[in-house]
């Protein structure tokens, strides 16, 4: 959040964007008070999430296309995976992304695939 007259508004924020959302001070205080007055337990938060997700036609959007960067398999967290099928079908190097900047490459498999394609 940037104060009125901040030089960042002219230079742009840390992410490089120069588009800012304006909110009046009174409105901001009002929202902060409202947020503070609602204290939710972890169970309540989970229940809310489940209720909302239950209202959606599909929970995790299994139909949404998955197009990954250079990796074939992205591990979101233990037990949750996204697979780039086009990448796998094309026989490109088998690269797993564990997290931002952390990759594991199956070299043996990648070389085998390379030999097949030659």
């Amino acid at each position: 959040m940037y104060a009125d007259g901040s030089t960042d508004l002219l230079k742009g924020c840390a992410c490089g964007a120069k588009l800012f959302f304006f909110i009046r001070k009174e409105k901001l205080e009002e929202q902060q008070k409202l947020a503070e007055s609602i204290k939710l337990s972890q169970e309540e938060k989970i229940q809310m999430e489940q209720d909302v997700l239950g209202m959606l036609t599909s929970r995790m959007d299994y139909d949404a296309p998955v197009v990954l960067d250079l990796e074939a398999v992205r591990v979101l967290r233990p037990g949750q995976y996204e697979l780039d099928l086009v990448h796998l079908f094309q026989g490109q190097p088998l690269i797993y992304r564990l997290e931002e900047g952390k990759y594991v490459i199956d070299l043996a498999e990648s070389f085998q695939q390379l030999r097949k394609n030659v």
């Binding site: 995790m60 949404a64 074939a72 037990g79 995976y81 796998l88 079908f89």
Partner: protein
């Protein structure tokens, strides 16, 4: 010129060996389409035994299953093939989906890991298939990324394909929707569970195998 000669010999040798071995027929498709139920139907009809376990929970088959030398006969014709049942292909695998049906977290995560490896293995095996049967749940929308990617790739590899619209015993089944989605391939509607239209399916296999 050299590459033309090389291509000719490689095709000649490939064809020569292809004729000697049994056909390898792969069952492919998204999870819960009924691949293993169909594999069991084929095995029960022609070998008198089942091939693998089926479950209403997705990703029950997480390893490639092979049944060798299945011999089917129809109207004086005979066809022998090795049947390869593959894990369901998916773009997203989430252990929480397994937990929703009562699986404990540790087991669900393990299943998700195995299912992910299963998808990679299934795709790897595609190069070894002579013909492919795509098994789709006819009650679901066929226009999914998984279906389109699988079928598009098979078409590019020029592998003969037959699409099976499974679960036609269910009210919501819609074969026409699948036919409209993939007009380039023959579609056979069956109920692998109850054996409905199995004869038509076997007939289509003969046509596919040439």
């Amino acid at each position: 010129m050299i590459s033309l000669i090389k291509d000719f010999f490689s095709k000649f040798l490939k064809d020569l060996f292809k004729k000697k071995k049994h056909l390898r027929m792969g069952l492919y498709g998204p999870p819960n389409g009924g691949k293993t139920t169909l594999a069991n139907r084929i095995c029960k009809d022609w070998l008198g035994e089942e091939m693998g376990a089926v479950s209403s929970i997705a990703h029950e088959t997480r390893e490639i299953q092979i049944k060798e030398q299945i011999n089917i006969k129809s109207k004086g014709k005979e066809l022998t093939f090795n049947l390869i049942d593959t894990p369901g292909i998916a773009t997203k695998i989430d252990y929480e989906e397994f937990m929703k049906v009562g699986m404990v977290e540790k087991k669900a995560k393990e299943r998700a890991k195995e299912a992910t490896k299963g998808v990679i293995d299934a795709i790897k095996w595609l190069d070894d298939m002579d013909i492919v049967i795509i098994v789709l749940d006819s009650t679901l929308d066929p226009y999914s990324q998984v279906n389109i990617t699988i079928i598009g790739n098979l078409q590019a590899r020029e592998i003969p394909v037959l699409i099976v619209a499974n679960k036609i015993d269910l009210k919501k089944a819609n074969i026409k929707r699948i036919e409209a989605a993939f007009p380039q391939y023959d579609v056979v509607g069956i109920s692998a569970k109850y054996g409905k239209n199995a004869d038509e399916f076997y007939e289509a296999l003969f046509v596919l195998a040439g």
